[in-house]
Amino acid sequence: MPIYTQIAWTDVITPEVVRAAIRISLMIGIGFPIVLLTATIVGRVLRKRLSLQGAMLLRKGIVYLGTAIILISVLYQSGYKLTALLGAAGIVGIAVGFASQTSVSNIISGVFLISERSFEVGDVIVVGDTKGVVLSIDLLSVKLRTFDNQFIRIPNESLIKTQVTNVTRFPIRRLDINVGVAYKEDPKRVSEILLDIADKDLQSLDEPTPLVRFQEFGDSSLQFLLAVWCTREDFYLLRSNLRQEIKERFDAAGIEIPFPHRTLYSGSATEPFPVRVVPDDPQQPDPKS
């Protein structure tokens, strides 16, 4: 007796199977483009009413939901019993859960990041040593573009646990510039010049009022702080311009910005030690003689 029976291909590929295959192909071939088109249209229509991040989330939500519906429909058309599948999924889910703890943590962290709204797409954030523009807040990670055009992916889990600075959250920022001048300079004159520089700069805001503070008696200089407010867009330009202007005005006024230095004394308030350079080779003539 034969162990097996020859199976004709017509026994396998029955008209029902062909019809199901056609239905599945149509579902995939038409369904996916419709889902993508719907997501695009909805995103464009609601672009003006939603933020960039909101529109992106909505598009992704439509795509994920549409994909899930198509997948379930395909499985149903294929004859799979979804109840059995869900049962198996439960067992598989436990196994996958153990294996994908980090991914699940990232997903949950992503949900919290979005709901907290500490930052949004388009904001500039600083995470550790990394500063960049937020390109997207995705399921598992946040994508940044740095100012030198590098692409950085930060897992959501590490963002939830780390300090994140949103540089562009508020419309104005305060620029702090520390300036050191020599001890011989007049602090009042230095303050007046710094305030005048801030007053004349077009990017510097009149209010909040710029301020100058005599911070401390430093090791090598008198330390001043010039604090000026500007819009977040003007921040970097103002920082460069103010430093340049401070240097030029101090040079014009004869105000010294000293290098760090140490003064040696042999005892109490004596003359500095004289320093004489001698050549290495005793046969060489002394350059000073």
């Binding site: 508020f170 419309p171 104005i172 007053d199 077009l202 990017q203 510097s204 805001l205 009149d206 209010e207 909040p208 009022t209 301020l211 503070r213 702080l225 604090a227 407010w229 819009t231």
Partner: protein
């Protein structure tokens, strides 16, 4: 008041023109279907008050002019300069802080520099650019977390407009402030939304419609009413420039107040 500067001018090709509006110098030339415009300003803006319409100056041009080009086609035959209000609100700070007791009101005249709009074609239908006669510094009105970017201006807050020297590159805005609160109003600054103001040609100067502000207390929002008619302090003619953003109803805004959130010791 000489209003020739605001009349349309015929522009001949390949000829350099210059107009003056106080310290603002507008340079213009037509080359084919293009209009070239450059801007310069006298550094000492207090010393320059005259206006001059677009006048040919073939032999004169500062060395450091930066030209911008517009392709305007045949519309470049006619150019008109139009006075307009600044593109942002003005935060006006009296040189001497004012105090308005409860239930009192006062009328002030704020004298602010105008902008000049360069338009091609008839009825100034094609706006090319806008330039301020005087570049005002920027300031923030509101708290550091929200507010508005404005221009900053100090004023003597004159009580009579005849005390204000008529300048062709400035406009006068009457502001009436009523203190209906139980407390005294310490007026350190107020925000004038010039974008809601219409410019009128007066006998001696440019005017805007009046603003009526009712102060209801620090914790209440002030009511602002923008007059729909020309001011009546002198004979005022037609509208010379409509408001950038006309207002139909009165507004409830924080136009007055202090900025206590900015108290900062720099530490």
């Amino acid at each position: 008041m000489d209003v020739g500067i605001w009349q349309p001018s015929q522009i001949e090709a390949d000829t350099r023109y210059r107009a003056l509006a106080g310290p603002l110098q507008l340079w213009l030339r037509r080359a084919g279907d293009e209009l070239h415009i450059a801007v310069d300003r006298y550094p000492d803006f207090d010393a320059h008050h005259e206006t001059q319409p677009l006048t040919p100056v073939p032999n004169s041009q500062p060395e450091n002019l930066t030209w911008a080009r517009w392709v305007v086609g045949k519309a470049g035959d006619t150019v008109q300069l139009v006075p307009t209000t600044p593109d942002r609100p003005l935060v006006v700070r009296p040189e001497v802080p004012l105090r308005l007791p409860s239930k009192q009101e006062a009328l002030f005249f704020v004298n602010f520099p105008i902008w000049v709009k360069v338009s091609a074609a008839a009825q100034h239908s094609l706006t090319l650019c806008e330039e301020p006669c005087i570049v005002l510094s920027k300031t923030w009105f509101g708290d550091p977390m929200s507010g508005a970017l404005c221009y900053s201006m100090r004023t003597r807050a004159r009580r009579d407009f005849v005390d204000i020297q008529a300048r062709p590159h400035r406009a006068v805005c009457p502001v009436r402030i009523r203190n209906s609160a139980a407390q005294q109003l310490d007026l350190e600054r107020f925000c004038v939304h010039v974008e809601h103001l219409t410019l009128f040609q007066g006998t001696t100067r440019l005017w805007t419609n009046q603003i009526d502000v009712t102060f209801r207390g620090d914790k209440e929002i002030s009511q602002l009413d923008y007059g729909k008619h020309p001011p009546t302090y002198e004979t005022v003619g037609e509208v010379i420039c409509k408001a950038r953003h006309p207002v139909k109803e009165s507004l409830l805004e924080r136009g007055l107040g202090s900025l206590g959130l900015f108290a900062d010791d720099g530490g």
